[in-house]
Assembly symmetry: C2
Homo-oligomer: 243 residues x 2
DNA sequence: TTAATATTGTAACATATTGAGACAATATGT
DNA sequence: ACATATTGTCTCAATATGTTACAATATTAA
């Protein structure tokens, strides 16, 4: 699981050249969407979790590997959403800064200083299960509020924006919101996920009726919440039995 | 516009290595979806129009360039739909066959024999405006019925399948079907496009009511069709004025 | 010239879906 | 025991969609 090769070495021979994977890892906590970011050592630079593709590795497996390495989770929901391939992305300044901080070579033929095409993925994870892990060249890996993001290096703010747009578009049709919650959840929690992603209030009763009509939820038990009110049911997402 | 460099040369130095673009060019004629395919010289192999990215070229521009070269059109609707990056795609047999037929080198370090990641695009074009153009290493470029496709090399049948699925999914939400028709069209023609893509019959009156309610169609004039019946209106697609 | 025919545009009605409010049920705190 | 907040479900209104009907009309046939 751990790298035994230094990504900052001049050649990067284990990896396909010119192709990177950038991953927007979404979490959900306290009615807020969160994004996992790395802080590169001694540079103040922030970046999305990223990685490269091993020469005999499937693209999707590489994306899963990167998510696993940063979150300590496995079996994660990921989805490709866009490939970023404009020439204007090719900005060597932050890369040089990161390499310098590592004491690595910044000679022009360093593989990381070439132009890269980035395949954008997003991942939806259970916030509470994640144990953030910095990578080799960062000293910090932590959650940031999506609604209050700092400046992130290169075009990563744009990548997050596009990821969110895709998530919003696909939320209803692909029924993927459940991946942000624990195994069991209340209808109110699910509604909060939807409201936060779509950035609008939803009708409580209509939401409940619709979700139940989809026949994708299994009622598990009542939960005693400790609140001064009726206890809600807990639900579990029923995976599509045709798969 | 024309290549002054031979893609079959060993180095392919003008292009980014390891990244290809495969394009599913959809046309619509006689109530059928069509796909443009190339036949490689003296090999019997069929393939999707494909290309590589020039070192200082935007990814999307490269895709547009390839579509333009094969169709003789410009200003074409294209959309990324998936990146194909499984290791199982790496099958050098058909590539060697094509290179051999060209009299080109098939030594193992030929750049085209490396593993490639393919960015899949689909394009929607006006069938009647297209003048198919073979590329440098093919001797034929022609339309095939989507419903009766031959075997195509590598994973290109799969790529077409995925392109169609994306087209079906996005047809209503992104209002892109118009790109398959001429500048003006009848409601019946538009309905036929929808029915063919979605592979199901639609209710005539409900379809008309819905399309008109979207406020994206401008009525142009009546057309005398030569048929023994009432003449239909012609419509034009109104591009979103907020863009 | 007139009638027959096929298709078009729109209206009308039925049915289905969604929006919005009402209300009983119920854990907990007072 | 009562007050309070939230939940689950019901009802009715508003909207959207499915379906049928029918007048309008460009051509062909009589």
């Amino acid at each position: 699981m751990s790298n035994n090769h230094n990504v900052t070495s001049v050649k990067g021979e284990e990896y396909l050249k010119g192709i990177a994977i950038d991953i927007v890892i979404f979490g959900f906590n306290e009615n807020q969407l969160k994004v996992l970011l790395l802080e590169y050592k001694s540079t103040g630079l922030l970046g999305l979790p990223a990685g490269y593709i091993l020469k005999n590795e499937n693209l999707n497996d590489a994306a899963r590997r990167v998510v696993s390495e940063r979150t300590s989770l496995k079996d994660i929901f990921i989805e490709q959403f866009y490939v970023f391939g404009d020439t204007s992305r090719h900005d060597t300044k932050p890369i040089k800064k990161i390499l310098s901080a590592e004491g690595a070579s910044t000679q022009p033929d360093h593989w990381l200083l070439d132009r890269f095409i980035s395949v954008g993925y997003f991942a939806l994870v259970d916030f509470k299960k994640v144990i953030p892990q910095p990578d080799q060249i960062s000293n910090n890996c932590q959650w940031y509020d999506l609604s209050d993001l700092p400046n992130i290096m290169l075009d990563h703010n744009l990548i997050i924006k596009k990821a969110l747009e895709t998530l919003q578009t696909n939320l209803d049709s692909k029924l993927i919101g459940f991946n942000l919650l624990a195994e069991t959840f209340t209808m109110a929690e699910l509604q909060s996920v939807y409201e936060t992603i779509l950035n609008k209030k939803l009708q409580r009763t209509a939401f409940q009726r619709k979700m139940l009509s989809l026949a994708i939820l299994e009622r598990v038990a009542k939960r005693m919440t400790g609140g001064a009110h009726k206890a809600p049911y807990l639900y579990r997402f029923i995976k599509n039995e045709t798969l």
